[in-house]
């Protein structure tokens, strides 16, 4: 459901002669560029060309000139996003052998494979900015680049798999749908693919909880316990507050919004998430663990309690329940896969040699 409406069907897209063939031919772009380059040398021209793209809400493509800070911000954000997808395979991957039925097991395998795919789409997008995929993996393995803190919590019961799909993937979708319109083309295109696939993830999670809450008392209690543990970490996934005392400074929201990387503030997206999930929790017959949750007629939104940011920073800085385990597992998987990569390399070299020998002599 998500993202599909954003993908134009190329078959329904005939070229109109009076419409610019290329986005950069539009009058908006030309005007913005002309205004910005009244007196410019080459670097000013490059900056002006970038500013004009952003001002006209056009996409920046890999070989365009772009400010170093824009490039660095994107590399950091896309790499962290890719790492999160790869690390995100672990909490649910741990339940593949213990899924309660063959149906659930097949679904879970497909979902974890999707997470790997999402990581690869994103590494592919990051590489268009001139970084090397192997270098990004090194940075993850050495703890020099972060991944989403949400994956540093354990999956204690089967209900956690349902709750991750419903709440964690739900929060991820809320964050990611606006990224489909991100100013950097390859990132936006990767996110369209990701968002299309995420909606299956969220629905399968909801279905697990829907089944449990219609089961025995013990199953209902298991579902409620999982939601109690995952609700607050899910709210933290939207990041620190954008304004006020709790904002803490050092936030990237304002600059990222000016660059068209981010489209909505952290707090806007968090509010949208709460408003959506209150209704869905009610439908599931589950209670969200927040005594301050109440409808605010005046705002037209649900009010919710204060988030424990000290806990958020503690987990982010490495002191969560599973930080060390997640990284150790990731490094181990990479090292144990080395022989497969070496074998593939050797086989490719052998095939290439055989191919050369078969060619007739010149």
């Amino acid at each position: 459901m998500y993202g599909t409406e954003m993908v134009a069907d190329q078959a329904d897209d005939p070229v109109e002669p009076d419409v610019p063939l290329n986005a950069s031919e539009t009058a908006d772009y030309s005007q913005a560029l002309a205004g910005a380059t009244a007196a410019g040398d080459r670097s000013q021209l490059a900056q002006a060309s970038f500013d004009a793209l952003i001002e006209s809400d056009l996409r920046v493509e890999p070989r365009d000139e772009m400010p170093d800070a824009y490039r660095r911000t994107l590399v950091r954000q896309i790499a962290q996003h890719a790492h999160s997808e790869i690390i995100g395979m672990q909490p649910e991957g741990a339940w593949i052998t213990r899924a309660p039925s063959l149906r659930r097991k097949a679904i879970l395998i497909a979902k974890v494979q999707d997470e790997a795919g999402h990581g690869l789409y994103l590494y592919s997008a990051a590489e268009t900015l001139g970084v090397d995929r192997a270098e990004l993996l090194d940075q993850l393995h050495e703890g020099r680049q972060k991944y989403s803190s949400i994956f540093n919590y354990p999956t204690l019961t089967w209900a956690d798999c349902g709750t991750i799909g419903w709440l964690v993937d739900g929060a991820a979708i809320m964050n990611q749908v606006p990224l489909c319109r991100c100013s950097y083309g390859p990132y936006a295109r990767a996110m369209i693919r990701v968002c299309k696939e995420e909606s299956f993830h969220q629905r399968q999670g909801f279905e697990i909880l829907w089944t449990l809450t219609r089961g025995t008392d013990a199953q209902r209690a298991m579902a409620q316990d999982a939601v109690d543990r995952w609700w607050w970490p899910s709210l933290m996934m939207f990041g620190p507050h954008d304004t006020g005392e709790a904002a803490g400074g050092g936030g990237h929201t304002e600059q990222s919004m000016a660059w068209g990387i981010k489209r909505f503030s952290n707090d806007e997206l968090r509010q949208r998430f709460v408003d959506t999930m209150v209704k869905q929790a009610d439908r599931l017959g589950l209670t969200l663990p927040d005594a301050d949750l109440r409808w605010n007629e005046q705002r037209g939104h649900w009010d919710f309690g204060a988030i424990d940011w000290a806990d958020f920073r503690r987990v982010l800085s490495g002191d969560g329940p599973c930080n060390a385990e997640r990284l150790a597992h990731r490094r181990g998987a990479h090292e144990k896969g080395a022989w497969v990569r070496e074998a593939a390399t050797a086989f490719a070299a052998k095939q290439a040699r055989a191919g050369r020998q078969k060619e007739p002599a010149a």
Partner: protein, 95 residues
């Protein structure tokens, strides 16, 4: 060639018969055969394609965005290439 330096391949998918192949992303692989297999697993898990191309990224020659204006200029001043350029009576059908 170590696995750290596997070449980059660009992946193109034909979504269904009658449509062109469209660029969808890239991946690393030791050779084109493996690139094709990996592209199938990565980019067509949900029947997104009926045909795949993989092309070594190094083998692509691209126009430079820096010379965008001068490179494409020759196409800008020939408005008579478009059917809307011509004055014809409104009441002539199928024109």
């Amino acid at each position: 060639m170590s696995e750290r330096s596997w070449p980059l391949f660009e992946v193109f998918v034909r979504a269904k018969r009658g449509l062109s192949h469209v660029h969808v992303g890239s991946l690393h692989a030791p050779d084109a055969t493996m690139a094709l297999r990996n592209a199938r697993d990565l980019y067509t898990r949900r029947q997104e394609g009926v045909s795949l191309w993989v092309v070594r990224s190094d083998d692509i020659t691209a126009s430079s965005p820096g010379e965008k204006d001068s490179f494409f200029d020759p196409a800008a001043d020939k408005v008579y290439r478009h059917p809307s350029f011509y004055d014809v009576p409104d009441d002539v059908e199928y024109l």
